[in-house]
Point group: C2
Chain length 334, copies 2
């Protein structure tokens, strides 16, 4: 197995200097068309590809974008990642995946990244990155935040969770339900996610606006996941005085509610209506009525934003914070 061709081999073959070859590789303008063509031919003949490591070392750029995601905790993340992937795939950037399982791991990962010139840019999905670490350690690093309302110093793509909570609740109200329960997250131990709380806020506001009953025993919180939601829903369903509809802070939790309803023999939506939030893939299978959060699109948006930043050198102020459109996906659980 022989040595890969280098820029020098190309230069020799095309009877030019390495500098010229470098120029055509980086399509610098100052090359006569015919020499350029000669070089191109040589490149073709030799099946030459510039060595990325050398380009990185010499140019100071990595052609790499890091994506930080709390991978395993929720299905929505994979969908967003897929959206990012699709966009980066068409670019010259490699996508390297950093998956984290806790805030402390996030910090570790960040300190191994920040100021080390390992990536040209970063996208963080859902986790709230410690902004000071970046501002202090590598203030010029382009970072785009996806799905974190709390971010301050970086451009972001966010869900208006309060509004989303109102939207879901209002939808239930419009459908004629007046006794509405809520199943959401207790404080998240690993990442301090707050979306559930914000959605609950929207829920309350919508009820208040209509002066509807707000029964504490109808609002239960637990660790995120099907299981906890299932248990909490069971508890609610065993109440003597039950709600007619339940708003779950996420689709996953809505599945738990559905499971509980099935178990106690409650028919959905006739006996109890259920609406979720996110519109993950499985929701379609389950015919879950939910709030669509454009997961895949938002991944694409974040990648496009970062790419433009990398290209233009800065981000247009209009794009600093963009709210995702939210929409009701009507299926069969309401």
């Amino acid at each position: 197995m022989m040595r890969l061709p280098t820029i020098r081999d190309v230069a020799r073959k095309a009877h030019v200097s390495v500098a010229t070859v470098s120029r055509v590789i980086n399509d610098s303008p100052n090359v006569r068309p015919e020499t350029r063509q000669r070089v191109l031919d040589a490149i073709e003949d030799l099946n030459f590809h510039p060595n990325p490591a050398a380009q990185r070392l010499s140019g100071g750029k990595t052609s790499t974008i890091g994506v930080i995601a709390p991978f395993f905790t929720r299905p929505a993340f994979a969908t967003r990642l897929a959206g990012i992937q699709e966009i980066l795939d068409e670019s010259k950037y490699d996508l390297v995946l950093y998956s984290i399982r806790s805030l402390s791991q996030l910090e570790k990962r960040l300190s191994s990244l920040v100021g080390q010139n390992r990536v040209d840019g970063l996208i963080s999905i859902s986790v709230h990155i410690p902004e000071e670490m970046i501002l202090e350690g590598d203030p010029d690093l382009p970072v785009v935040s996806l799905d974190d309302e709390r971010i301050k110093h970086f451009p972001s793509i966010v869900i208006d969770n309060v509004y989303g909570g109102q939207l879901a609740t209002q939808y239930l109200i419009d459908k004629g339900y007046t006794r509405i329960g809520f199943i959401g997250d207790s404080n998240d131990p690993h990442f301090n996610f707050v979306s559930s709380q914000r959605r609950f806020e929207g829920f309350r506001q919508a009820l208040e606006a209509k002066m509807l009953a707000f029964e504490p025993q109808w609002h239960l919180f637990g660790l995120h996941g099907v299981e906890q939601a299932y248990r909490n829903a069971l508890e609610i369903f065993r109440l003597p005085h039950q709600p007619e509809a339940i708003f779950a802070a996420s689709d996953t939790q809505a599945f738990g509610v559905l499971k509980a309803a099935r178990e106690v023999g409650l028919n959905v939506p006739d006996d109890v209506a259920v609406i979720g939030f996110d519109d993950i893939e499985a929701s379609e299978y389950l015919n879950l009525t939910t709030i669509g959060a454009h997961l895949y699109d938002s991944g694409q948006m974040s990648a496009r934003l970062l790419l433009r930043w990398l290209l233009a050198g800065d981000v247009h102020p209009d794009k600093w914070q963009t709210f995702l459109p939210l929409e009701i996906i009507e299926r069969h659980t309401v």
Copy 2:
């Protein structure tokens, strides 16, 4: 923003040569403990991290593992990827994600990878990589294949789909069902996946072994996905003479069957039983009885295998092909 410290800065500070610093970085044995410590201290003081690009260029290694996956087509892939991620996360290797959408894109991607020294190793999920491309272009590239029965020249982690098909079918038979239908994939236009066909083969064998009815109109094939499976199942359910149970080649398709059953008012499992294959996450939400294929674990296994290969220089013959254990996950649809 000042220059990052280099190996030279460390050398100066520790009063040694760069070679020595390099030695302690790569923990080479030939360094006196006290000098090593001195170097370590200097590294610590300067917060020095070796520049990966330089290491790659100089050492000829990339510290990068490429993962090739048909990302968007099926949920099972994301789960496997997550397993890989977890293992690589603990290693020094970066995981760069290559997602492909067709066989032709796979070839393009491969030719940009093979022989270009861009990755130290490759894991391919579910897609059948054109082995000659690698054998000819970069015979020393470590490649591990995950979930592709057809692979010949590389170590692999595979599902025995025929056996799995038998297992599912046998389970149905044991439960007393004798009239069993099948919903699977027609020929896959993008990737030539064959798992569905193999599972069908197992299905047939199990029926034959028990001399059970094999009704062509009970076996329908379509593009992979909920929708097609749903349509096909509807068709079957409208037959005058219906099966009592249906084996779907994947969980996703089983969801389509469930949806169809609900729609025509068939109760599962009383009127019709349904078993799937894979045990993806959503299956738990849906209480789907299925064949568990250890998706996450298999991702981990493939990563461990590749890591060992990278470390040891070769793979132990015993590990050349490992079949995943398959198990019946009993839930509520049978």
